[in-house]
């Protein structure tokens, strides 16, 4: 009987102890830092006044139901002209907008952009940067934060920007910008319609 009493007491103690569990109050708002809401590709003409064609994909609700809004401003590409391309990734859900490029630069060896030209569009793309440039690691593998686009004959077609996280950069063709053997997981994949005139 004595044991029973002791156990009952213990039980009561436990219950009273547990009922004072901490209340967390109102949960705090989370604005995700890693969301890429905005992809901006700038194609700056290497000729004349350096006109800029700006390709933007903006998806302010990230994984929410709204689809990205895509725009191409600054007119069409000019046949035979070389363009210097740069890409900026931002998270506009936070203010001021966070530029995600910094993280990509810090982990340049684990990221690579791919620029694909769809059939129909007469253009070529080559990388202008290397990992070594950002990490000083001696690697000549490209990252793709800057590139050159050369517009060929007048045509219309799709231009796709892809960012892969942890791709296999040493696989065949990957350093030339071919996705076939790249693997990894997709962080950005967006397509723009371009016209060369």
């Amino acid at each position: 009987m004595k044991n029973l009493k002791i156990s009952s007491l213990l039980l009561l103690a436990l219950i009273s102890f547990s009922s004072c569990s901490d209340d967390e109050g109102t949960p705090e708002l989370i604005n995700e830092e890693e969301v890429i809401t905005t992809v901006t590709v700038t194609l700056k003409s290497n000729f004349g006044n350096g006109e800029e064609i700006i390709l933007t994909s903006r998806d302010l609700d990230g994984e929410g139901p709204d689809a990205p809004v895509i725009s191409v401003t600054g007119g069409n590409l000019q046949s035979g002209i070389e363009y210097t391309g740069t890409v900026v990734l931002e998270n506009e859900t936070v203010s001021p907008a966070e530029v995600i490029n910094e993280e990509i630069i810090a982990e340049a060896d684990e990221h690579q952009f791919f620029y694909q030209i769809g059939s129909g569009l007469d253009a070529t793309v080559s990388y202008d940067d290397t990992e070594n440039q950002y990490l000083n690691n001696g690697s000549l593998n490209p990252v793709g934060l800057s590139f050159t686009l050369t517009a060929g004959a007048a045509s219309t077609g799709q231009f796709t920007v892809t960012l892969r996280h942890e791709p296999n950069k040493d696989a065949a063709g990957v350093s030339e910008g071919n996705l076939t053997n790249a693997g990894g997981e997709t962080d950005v994949a967006q397509t723009f319609n371009l016209t060369i005139e």
């Binding site: 547990s18 569990s21 967390e24 809401t37 990230g62 071919n178 076939t180 997981e185 997709t186 967006q190």
Partner: protein, 802 residues
């Protein structure tokens, strides 16, 4: 000391002898439970040559006693030995009550437990210690597949969830040593957070008839039971060491029990498992290592009329998730399905990197009981559980080492049960249960919460009874009522809130508005009714027929209500729905068991009709800067499942036998007239065993595991337009629905026993799984799109009982 004793005995002895010695102790010996008289009980006075036997009326008389204090020992063939102290200073009238049932409880554990846990009429099966021990380095879900009708829903080979007759997750309750596990079991990628080495046996009740443990067991109940301490002075234990070639893993588990004659006991148990990357026949399954550390301690007092148990267990596991199954968007999924090989194959390592799960479960429990004469046993339990689940994804920058999911679920449960057992032909249980649960998703993940902050209160009350009409015919039944209230605080993206039309239906739930998110406070109440009714008829020796009807009612779980986010392993966006109501099942189960000569069999057909069955299914695509994602939404349909579990065995002689089990389940969505997703394919398991007691108890068995192709699956294939690797836009059908091909595997198990030292037994086991190194994929493995299942595995096991 001896001297004093001697003096004391002499003085005391002389003192007694000086008295008149013609007193009598007389009375009646009765059964504690029902008060019936007990004939043939032997009463003896310790230290004196005096005995008496109770007569047919239970009466006894011990004559010729002097004044003094006597200890009387009473023995009865069906009762535990009991001692009572009686003071004599004249004739004494004294009735004794003996515990009549201990003999039954100890020796007939197998049959007794069936009655105790589910109901006599429900289909149930038990896995005993020896069967569990061969899985000491694996998981509960692996072990339970031994039972026909129980399969598993896997994420790779390391996250294994039991499926009972086609149903799983929130529909299968796991009762760990009397406590319902609250380990975020709603998730299909969340394995039960318990170490099967803590269990002495595991019972599977295939239906909702175990009402004492919950009314929402639409699929069934899995009950694990800890080893019971014997009421004698003893110290024993066991250690099992195992090593496996696939994954280059090892496991060690040890149990130690110290028990006293008084009923006091203390026990401890610990397990460690470690494995590196597992291997499929043709490649390494990169990042599939496991590291698990568990322990449990318990102590208590187990007297006949009262007692208590205190128990604490901790489960801690780090589980690697196949690297190649972590994908970015739907075109990554298309690539994975088309390539037929994992995208990431690296050399073997032990390290576990992201993606991975890191889960920890604490369970503390205190229970007390008291038996009342001519009534029964009252039990009061309090349990505390805390489950912390961390899931790590591949992340960038300073978030790299942060978990993407960090949920802490805390549950307090108080329950009380009264088991009425005063009559031998009528037994009943009454009980109440109340719980408080709090979920805290840690905001430091910096990822929007998949499951929100919530508090949940539940209250349940039940009554179950069984009645023996005669010795062959038993009826049982029961009902249960459960109330639950969930009070959540959740952030929705404005766009999601509007897209779900919540702005028209639930506008009053909004607490606060931010730039692009809303804080809402849904509070939902659910009233659930469940019940069971059945009978068991034993129409010949070893032949019986059971019929059981049960209805279970399950309130939606937090995932079904609130989930709202991206699942990386499947590249899907999963959406709960605030409008979801409870589902109600109506199940009929028939079971016939029989034996004739060396042949025995069991056949268990069932039909389960479920109203408002909650399912997750694809409803469209959503576009983001990362590409397209299929959206899966929870919704409710009327469904039915029917099937049959069969088992048969033939004992040729003492050395050879063959056993086979077959399970078939057919699930159908009645609203849309199409098959239900994720139903186990028909399967047959056949084991040939050879045993020779003279050869060190040698046991060799060869098992064939054959799984047919599941031909019944809903067509959830969808079309997606994406840019292929050469930069062109293509439209392709994503074939996610098709089930993998049939497969057949052979497994070998063998063991032999050796006596070591004086009281210890060493058991040596050698196992080979998937002997032919067959490459296969299983329909119920969520990683079947990415990689083959496990290849050949050699395992040795050394067990020492001491």
């Amino acid at each position: 000391m001896k001297f004093f004793t001697l003096v004391f005995v002499c003085v005391f002895g002389l003192h007694i002898q000086a008295q008149e010695c013609d007193y009598t102790i007389s009375g009646v010996v009765r059964d504690f439970h029902d008060g019936q008289v007990l004939p043939n009980a032997t009463l003896s006075i310790n230290g004196y040559q005096k005995y008496a036997l109770s007569n047919l009326d239970g009466k006894y008389a011990l004559k010729g006693l002097c004044e003094g204090s006597y200890v009387i020992t009473i023995t009865h063939p069906e009762c535990e030995v009991a001692e009572f102290t009686v003071e004599v200073s004249g004739d004494v009238q004294r009735d004794f009550k003996l515990e009549h049932h201990t003999e039954e409880l100890n020796s007939v554990t197998v049959k007794g437990q069936n009655l105790k846990k589910g109901s006599a009429s429900s289909a149930a099966q038990i896995l005993q210690t020896d069967a569990l021990e061969s899985y000491s380095d694996a998981s509960l879900g692996d072990a339970l597949r031994e039972i026909p009708g129980v399969s598993s829903l896997n994420t790779g080979s390391t996250v294994v969830k039991p499926v009972i007759q086609g149903l799983h997750s929130s529909r299968v309750l796991i009762i760990n040593n009397g406590t319902r596990m609250e380990d975020q079991e709603w998730g299909v990628e969340h394995a039960p957070n318990l170490d099967l080495n803590t269990a002495a046996n595991v019972t599977v009740v295939k239906g909702a008839s175990a009402l004492r443990y919950g009314g929402d067991a639409v699929g069934g109940v899995i009950l694990t039971e800890s080893p019971k301490a014997p009421a004698k002075d003893t110290l024993y234990g066991k250690t099992i060491l195992s090593g496996a070639s696939n994954g280059r893993g090892y496991g060690i588990t040890s149990t130690l029990m110290k028990a006293y004659h008084s009923g006091l006991y203390i026990q401890g148990q610990g397990t460690r498992k470690r494995s590196g990357d597992r291997e499929a026949p043709d490649y390494v399954l990169s990042n599939t290592g496991v590291s698990e550390n568990d322990f449990s301690v318990g102590f208590g007092l187990d007297k006949f009329t009262y007692g208590f148990d205190a128990y604490y267990s901790m489960y801690d596991a780090e589980i690697g998730i196949l690297r190649a199954s972590h994908i970015g968007n739907v075109s990554d999924l298309v690539r994975a399905i088309n390539s037929g090989e994992p995208d990431v194959i690296r050399d073997f390592i032990y390290d576990i990197n992201a993606p991975k799960q890191d889960v920890r479960h604490h369970l503390a429990k205190l229970s007390v009981f008291k038996r009342f004469e001519k009534a029964g046993k009252l039990t009061l339990d309090y349990s505390f559980q805390q489950n912390n689940r961390l899931e790590y994804d591949i992340r960038r920058g300073e978030n790299r080492d942060k978990p993407s999911l960090d949920l802490r679920l805390t549950t307090h449960t108080l329950q009380s049960n009264f088991a009425y057992d005063a009559r031998s032909d009528f037994k009943a249980d009454f009980g109440v249960e109340a719980s408080y649960q709090e979920n805290f998703p840690n905001p430091e993940t910096d990822i929007r919460r998949l499951i929100p902050d919530y508090e949940m209160y539940t209250f349940g009350a039940y009554a179950t009874a069984s009645y023996d009409i005669n010795s062959n015919f038993k009826l049982d039944g029961g009902f249960r009522y459960d109330f639950s209230e969930i009070d959540a605080e959740k952030f929705y993206q404005n766009s999601r809130w509007e897209e779900r039309d919540y702005d028209t239906d639930f506008a009053d739930l909004i607490v606060e508005q931010f730039d692009n998110q809303l804080l809402v406070n849904p509070v939902f109440d659910y009233h659930n009714f469940s019940g069971t009714l059945g009978g068991r008829y034993q129409f010949a020796n070893n032949w019986d027929l059971k019929l059981n009807f049960s209805s279970a009612s399950r309130a939606p779980n937090p995932a079904e209500l609130f989930s709202d986010g991206l699942h990386h392993s499947a590249a899907i966006i999963e959406l709960g729905d605030l409008r979801i109501k409870q589902e109600q099942s109506y199940k009929t189960s028939l079971e016939l068991n029989g034996q004739s000569g060396g042949f025995s069999f069991g056949i268990n057909p069932y039909y389960n009709q479920i109203s408002d069955f909650i399912i997750l299914e694809p409803t469209g695509l959503q576009f983001t800067n990362r590409g397209a994602f299929p959206v899966h939404e929870y919704r409710q349909v009327d469904a039915r499942l029917y099937g049959v579990d069969l088992q048969a065995a033939y004992y040729f002689n003492d050395q050879f036998d063959v056993k086979t089990g077959f399970a078939y389940v057919n699930g159908h969505d009645l609203d849309r007239d199409r098959p239900l997703i994720d139903m186990p394919a028909p399967n047959v398991n056949t084991t040939f065993s050879f045993r020779k007691a003279e050869w060190n108890n040698l046991n060799v068995s060869l098992r064939n595991q054959s799984v047919f192709k599941q031909n019944r699956f809903p067509d959830n294939d969808f079309e997606v337009t994406y840019i292929n690797d050469s930069g062109d836009e293509v439209t392709e059908t994503v074939r996610i629905s098709e089930s993998p091909a049939a497969y057949s595997l052979f497994h070998l198990a063998s063991s032999a026993e050796f006596k070591v030292l004086n009281q210890s037994t060493l058991t040596l086991g050698l196992f080979v799984d998937n002997i032919l190194n067959t490459a296969y994929r299983d329909y119920l493995n969520r990683q079947r799109y990415f990689a083959d299942d496990l290849g050949r595995n050699f395992k040795i096991q050394i067990k020492l009982n001491y």
